[in-house]
């Protein structure tokens, strides 16, 4: 490096000397030709090597020109004022020309550096293949940025997972703590020592983390581009990741649902044979046998109900009840639940107080009808036979609240919350065999899957009212 510089200076001086000697000793031409030839040499030097070499060459050329060609020859003095003008013109021209040429050279060199950095950015972009995995993208970035840009080290803090990834020979003066802190600021921190570059990484106001690079660093524009590039790539990877997670969740939901369906089928198929056979026998059976066959028939029904509720409960537990929301009129929900329970309600006075003009709600009609049914069944089970059941539907703000009230004994205060737990039965009813103990738990699961609430109000000796809310169809009513 140093040797090269010395050589360049010597060569510049040598060239100027050679021209002076050539014209002084061998070719005798006028002074203008000499000056122009020297100018050419200086321009050449500045274009090839730079301003410093050209300036040295200019000074030598001016001195040599004065000494050898301007009167009085052989002295560094100038007598003729005309020669003064020529001498100054030469000096100014030489210096300006060499400056201009050196400037152009510097520009070219800068453009070359920029081109190289853009090429590196591009190869980094190519290297960070879209993996659909944000962590892998971070690891790839940290590894490649050192490889491609020749930085001393790189570190990345990915805030959604809290991972810190480092690469490069030295783990560097930027600590984990500094990295995490950098993710919370707005702009890169200027480092007066130019040892490290630390910057938050964000996209559209969303913080993705922060990164740090150790010297040697690429240019400022490239650093900004690097930050943007990694932000966009990460965000893309994250979006891909989300999409594949959603797909996987959907697959597992489909699988669960298919398993439950096949379980339902496998349980109900033998029940179908039992039920068909026993009801067929019941037709012509004499007294004593009839009683036994009736028991088989009733128990087959109970098993069927139990299996249906276990499967419904499993669906609720899977947390992914598949809701097919539609516009539903609560009047229809209540009416169809009542018609399904017509037999059980035969001796019950049922009043329905639902406003005719209630706007429709947005819900899965089959599941919501199950909720109404479970609440009515609960009322039937826990209130005296022939006591009335009151059903109401009222508009409350953006919701419609359906209430199912009975005239039962009421629920003790400490049991009111637990009543929605599966298999829970009130203290007094613990040994009743009716029901599966899952009805209200299923109802709660369905209501909550709709983002709504179910609750009970009760007064000892007066009865209980189970209520749940339903959302009005937004803006479409």
């Amino acid at each position: 490096m140093k040797y090269q510089r010395v050589w360049r200076y010597s060569a510049s001086i040598g060239l100027v000397g050679a021209v002076l000697v050539l014209y002084r000793s061998f070719l005798h031409v006028n002074n203008t030709t000499v000056a122009l030839t020297l100018l050419l040499v200086i321009l050449g030097v500045s274009a090839r090597w730079g301003l410093a070499e050209a300036t040295v060459a200019s000074v030598i050329a001016v001195l040599g020109f004065n000494y050898n060609f301007l009167e009085p020859v052989g002295k560094f003095t100038i007598e003729d004022p005309q020669n003064w003008v020529a001498f100054l013109a030469f000096l100014v021209t030489a210096v300006t020309a060499s400056q201009l040429s050196a400037h152009a050279r510097r520009r070219t060199a800068e453009a070359e550096v920029r081109r190289l950095e853009i090429e590196k950015l591009y190869s980094l972009l190519q290297a960070m293949t879209l993996t659909g995995n944000a962590r892998r993208t971070v690891r790839e970035f940290v590894h490649r940025v050192v490889q491609i840009f020749g930085c001393g080290a790189a570190a990345f803090y990915y805030s959604p997972t809290g991972d810190i990834v480092r690469s490069g020979p030295e783990s560097g003066p930027v600590t984990d703590h500094e990295l995490v802190a950098a993710s919370e600021i707005e702009e890169p921190v200027p480092d007066p020592r130019q040892i490290a570059f630390t910057s938050p990484v964000r996209l559209g106001g969303r913080t993705l983390g922060s990164m740090a690079l150790l010297a040697p660093l690429p240019g400022e524009g490239t650093l900004r581009a690097l930050v943007n590039l990694v932000a966009i790539t990460l965000e893309k990877a994250r979006a891909l990741e989300d999409a594949s997670h959603a797909e996987a969740a959907h697959q597992s939901e489909v699988l669960k649902s298919a398993l439950l369906d096949s379980l339902a089928h496998d349980i109900k198929t033998p029940l179908t044979s039992i039920k068909a056979a026993v009801t067929s026998l019941l037709g012509g059976a004499p007294g004593a046998e009839r009683e036994l066959l009736t028991i088989i028939n009733e128990e087959a029904d109970r098993l069927n109900l139990l299996s249906a509720e276990v499967i419904a409960m499993a669906r609720v537990d899977a947390g992914k009840l598949h809701l097919e929301k539609q516009l539903v009129r609560v009047g229809d929900l209540i009416a169809s639940a009542l018609s399904e329970l017509a037999v059980a309600l035969k001796k019950r006075p049922v009043t329905v107080a639902a406003d005719q003009d209630l706007p429709p709600v947005e819900a899965d009609p089959e599941l919501m009808q199950q909720v109404v049914k479970h609440c009515i069944e609960n009322a039937i089970k826990y209130s005296p036979d022939e006591s009335p059941i009151a059903i109401s539907a009222t508009l409350k703000g953006e919701k419609i609240v359906i209430g199912i009230g009975d005239r039962g004994p009421g629920i003790e205060e400490n049991e009111r919350l637990r009543i929605f737990d599966r298999f829970f039965r009130g203290r007094k009813h613990r040994f009743d065999t009716k029901g599966t103990g899952m009805g209200l738990a299923i109802a709660k699961g369905i209501v909550e899957a709709h983002g709504e609430r179910i609750w009970v109000e009760s007064e000892r000796g007066q009865g209980s009212t189970f209520s749940f809310s339903l959302p009005l169809a937004g803006g479409r009513s």
Partner: protein, 234 residues
Amino acid sequence: MSAGKILVVDDDPQIRRVMKATLVGHGYEVIEARTGEDALEKTPAEMPNLVLLDMNMPGIGGLETCRSLRQGSDIPVIILSVRNTEKDKVAALDAGADDYVTKPFSIEELLARIRAALRRSSSAPENGPHNFVSPDLEIDFETRRVRARGGDVRLTPKEFELLRYLVAHAGKPVTHRELLQAVWGPDYGDEPEYLRVFINQVRKKIEPEPAKPRIILTEPWVGYKFVAPAEPRP
């Protein structure tokens, strides 16, 4: 003399056994098929009067079997299925089934449905109009021929009965329950989804614009009404 020949299609042998024992006990002749493919093969040869079809079977399954059966004949089909959601019922009726019974069922219920289906398929014309003629729609109730917009239209027996009942009460709304009991039988009344499916089918066949019905109108919350198609405007 048998009360009718019934094809029982189910992949579960125990169910076929029970059905055979019971139905034979009630005077029906029973043939069995284990799969949908098997059923489609046996139908043309055996010419059953009714098909009891399981929905969930290996192979082509109940719905596809039902559609294929429908293409060739008007044999009443009762779908038997463990699923009881409205969506499943509508899918079965859409595929051309006449009725849908949820497993497990009591044999009395099934026998009632079988009787209703058999009665329908060979139903003699009841008291009602002999024919209906308008420029867009001609119905001959004795030969069971329907012409709409100049072409012959093929209605399944149930679609035909539905239309007959509505025409007989033209201009008046007929309630869901009344229509169900008239066409399906006295045990019916709480299956409005049956009507939705079948009315849609009839509309597709006779209405100029099925999406904007002008002949069979929906009476919200009540039922349906037949309106004689108006003279086309010149």
